[in-house]
């Protein structure tokens, strides 16, 4: 009987590789939407506590990204878009990514619980757990509804921000949750349309791979039709100003128009790329307008006082 002992090479991973492991673009979206949730809350947090909450949310989102990259290294290696990530490229060993992700996940939740409040920490834990266990380990490889259900994890940051400020969950952050939740399918399926070969090669059952491009375009249109009125809901339910309402209605009309054009498209991926790019702008616009709304209300309040 022989015993084989494999020796792990000393790591050459730099700090940048670990930052890449945290998916900084996804992280920035989580932080931005959490910031909006935190600032539109009726209770004002001390800036230091608010900063602490945002750092914890950023680190928690980064932890979820790192654990996703650890688990998905095998399929990431097969896809052009993800092959250069630190784990499949061999710059970070899988064990290192796992340890890094677990440390950050536990650390971010514990610090948020200790320094801010337990409800926010519990929501952050749910968000990380949902992304890693439900989306990454279970749904991603088993159903074309992966990003629909998994989208709940990415939709939670505004609720975490709100909970950090108030210690509770209200209707407004739930509305923001729903906006991101219904925004996720058109956003990711637009990407999947022009990356479907990548997903097919890796065996990931994204909708265009499983149901075809025509069905995906129909589904994008369906979700865009739900998203547009939802985006304007903070205005007509009285949580945001008419300025927000105008922007939300215009942006909603634009995303529906793009979805119709995508639905009509037969050849090429120009419309899906436009849809993907605009969906990012759409979400940014809506949340930025909520921030502007809040700042304007504060300024008017101060000037009248």
């Amino acid at each position: 009987m022989s015993l084989t002992v494999s020796r792990v090479e000393p790591s050459i991973a730099g700090v940048g590789d670990y930052l890449e492991l945290m998916k900084p673009r996804v992280m920035s979206l989580a932080v931005f939407t959490a910031l909006v949730g935190l600032l539109i809350a009726p209770i004002h947090l001390h800036p230091v506590i608010a900063f602490t909450a945002l750092v914890c949310i950023a680190v928690g989102a980064g932890a979820a990204g790192a654990l996703n990259m650890w688990y998905d290294a095998d399929i990431d290696a097969l896809m052009e878009r993800t092959a250069a990530r630190p784990v499949p490229a061999g710059r970070i060993a899988p064990g290192e990514a796992l340890a890094f992700g677990v440390t950050l996940a536990v650390g971010s939740v514990v610090v948020l619980g200790l320094l801010v409040n337990v409800i926010a920490a519990a929501l952050l834990a749910v968000s990380i757990g949902f992304y890693v266990f439900v989306y990454t380990m279970w749904l991603k490889r088993s159903t074309p509804q992966n990003i629909v259900i998994g989208g709940a994890a990415g939709a939670l940051p505004p609720m975490i921000g709100w909970a950090a400020a108030t210690g509770s969950v209200g209707v407004e952050p739930m509305l923001l949750f729903l906006i991101i939740f219904f925004w996720t399918p058109p956003h990711f399926w637009a990407l999947a349309l022009f990356r479907s070969e990548d997903y097919a090669r890796a065996g990931v059952p994204m909708l265009p791979v499983v149901a075809g491009e025509a069905a995906t375009r129909r589904q994008i249109l369906f979700y865009a039709l739900i998203l547009a009125p939802l985006g304007a809901a903070p205005w007509f339910l009285g949580y945001a100003s008419v300025v927000y309402g105008i922007v939300a209605v215009a942006a909603g009309a634009a995303i529906v128009a793009l979805a119709f054009r995508l639905h009509a498209e037969r050849n090429g991926y120009a419309a899906s790329k436009r849809m993907f790019a605009f969906s990012i702008l759409y979400l940014f616009l809506l949340f930025a307008m909520l921030l502007v709304d809040r700042v304007a209300t504060e300024l008017i309040g101060w000037s009248l006082a």
């Binding site: 730099g14 700090v15 506590i49």
Partner: protein, 60 residues
């Protein structure tokens, strides 16, 4: 003495020898960990000042 001779002899280096690149990467990682821990310590200190005596009293 025999013992002195043995103790003064240079032992052959065994184990893993890091390359220049690996040493640089390890140093960068160590500095990043030190900075992160330092930031965490400062954060806890400032939050303690901000919250005052009620530091452990926090809403659910």
């Amino acid at each position: 003495m025999m013992t002195d001779i043995v103790m003064n002899e240079e032992k052959p280096q065994t184990g893993v020898r890091l390359t220049e690149q690996q040493l640089r990467a390890r140093r960068a990682r160590s500095i990043a960990i030190a900075v992160s821990l330092g930031v965490l310590v400062v954060l806890f200190y400032i939050v303690t000042l901000v919250k005052g005596p009620g530091v452990l009293v926090r809403p659910l």
